[in-house]
Amino acid sequence: MVKLPEAEKLCEQLAAELRPKLGPKSAMIGLYTGGAWLAERLHSLLAIKEPLGLMDISFYRDDYHQQGLHHDPKRTKIPFDVSGREILLVDDVLYTGRTVRAAMNELFDYGRPASISLVVLADRGGRQLPVCAQYCGARVEVPAGMRLRLTREASGKLALVLESQSAT
């Protein structure tokens, strides 16, 4: 049985790491669904002035022609001008890197940011694209055929869970 790190602790740790790096041009965008939960948490821990952006990358996925359109896409909401911003892009788990590529493509349709840094709770390896996270809570070994996912309880408590891939 794989021992998973505690998501709540990783949040505190990421917030502490990010705090000294924030500047007047910083803004945060979370990727649905897990990344949005993590971003909501970090955004409030860090008391970032700019409202939080939330992004659903369904319209930019590279597996549309194999998988079709995701069934319940959320509406992307970026309540600030992206141009010239230092964007903190937040996701729960970094794996193949394809989600991050899609998110960067979508982000550039909103404007030209000054920079993008990637913030993830967990990195499970297995990259298929040249993507790396600037801020990473933990590295986690995930057994083959399993998926690592963030969950949020009704109380708001975040936790990492492993589930079999077919369950998705």
């Binding site: 369904s58 319209f59 549309y64 998988q67 359109l69 896409p73 959320k74 509406r75 992307t76 909103y110």
Partner: protein, 316 residues
Amino acid sequence: MQRNPQLNQAGELQHLLSIEGLPREILTQILDTAESFAGVTEREVKKVPLLRGKSVFNLFFEPSTRTRTTFEIAAKRLSADVINLNIAISSHTKGESLLDTVANLSAMHADIFVVRHSSSGAPFLIARHVKPHEHVINAGDGRHAHPTQGLLDLFTIRHYKKDFSRLTVAIIGDVLHSRVARSLIHGLTTLGAPEVRVIGPQTLLPAGVEALGVKVFHDMREGLRDCDVVVMLRLQSERMKGALLPSAQEYFKNYGLTLDKLSLARKDAIVMHPGPMNRGVEIDSSVADGPHSVILPQVTFGIAVRMAVMSIVAGN
């Protein structure tokens, strides 16, 4: 049981031919997806890369400017290549059959056919003959169905009223010849609107319309009472010649929507019209341009709804 021709074996939407027979989950999926696309259409870059490399053929066997244009914009915002064919003045007149026309376009590597035809059922015929990777969207067939208009009406209602479960909706005018009315009635009943009314003169209501689950009114004032949504239908001028109606003036007096009649509906009622409008025939300008009117937002929402339909069928 015969399989629904619109769905593939996994029960997903393969073609959009009619709202009738579509399960509630698929209607909701289309409306939810359209909601996300509405966000895209408000951005500076109004394009997403979903249908890059795909070809959409607009096959209009019957003229229509608005519907064709909104389908074209929707396809372009999905990054598809769009080819408009006005077949009313093309090979059709040279005697080519419908299926031969489609077979030729298929040989040009079509992915989506958007079909408008004066004969009810023409898009169904095409859907039965296309290749598995090709998709057909009905853009209006005869008096039968106009599903994307019905969906954009449903989207508009949901946008302003949030929820169908307590709504009273009145559909007013020439229901008999209206494919829009039929599509909307099916959609509203599937999504659980408790009361749908149709209002019009006997000659313009189909016999047995009650079987669709609607209440019939011939007195507009009575039918408008406490409505949340008022949908006006276009009165086609040819109807006057067919002796179905005495005159435009007479029709306006009885069934034209004026501020005075609208005051019988709820204070926050919305007024819709699929366009093109005949001002002074079915609707007064003071209503069409007034605060209750959501006629122009309907057009904008129509683009997001058509983006949703195209991207869902092309992905299945």
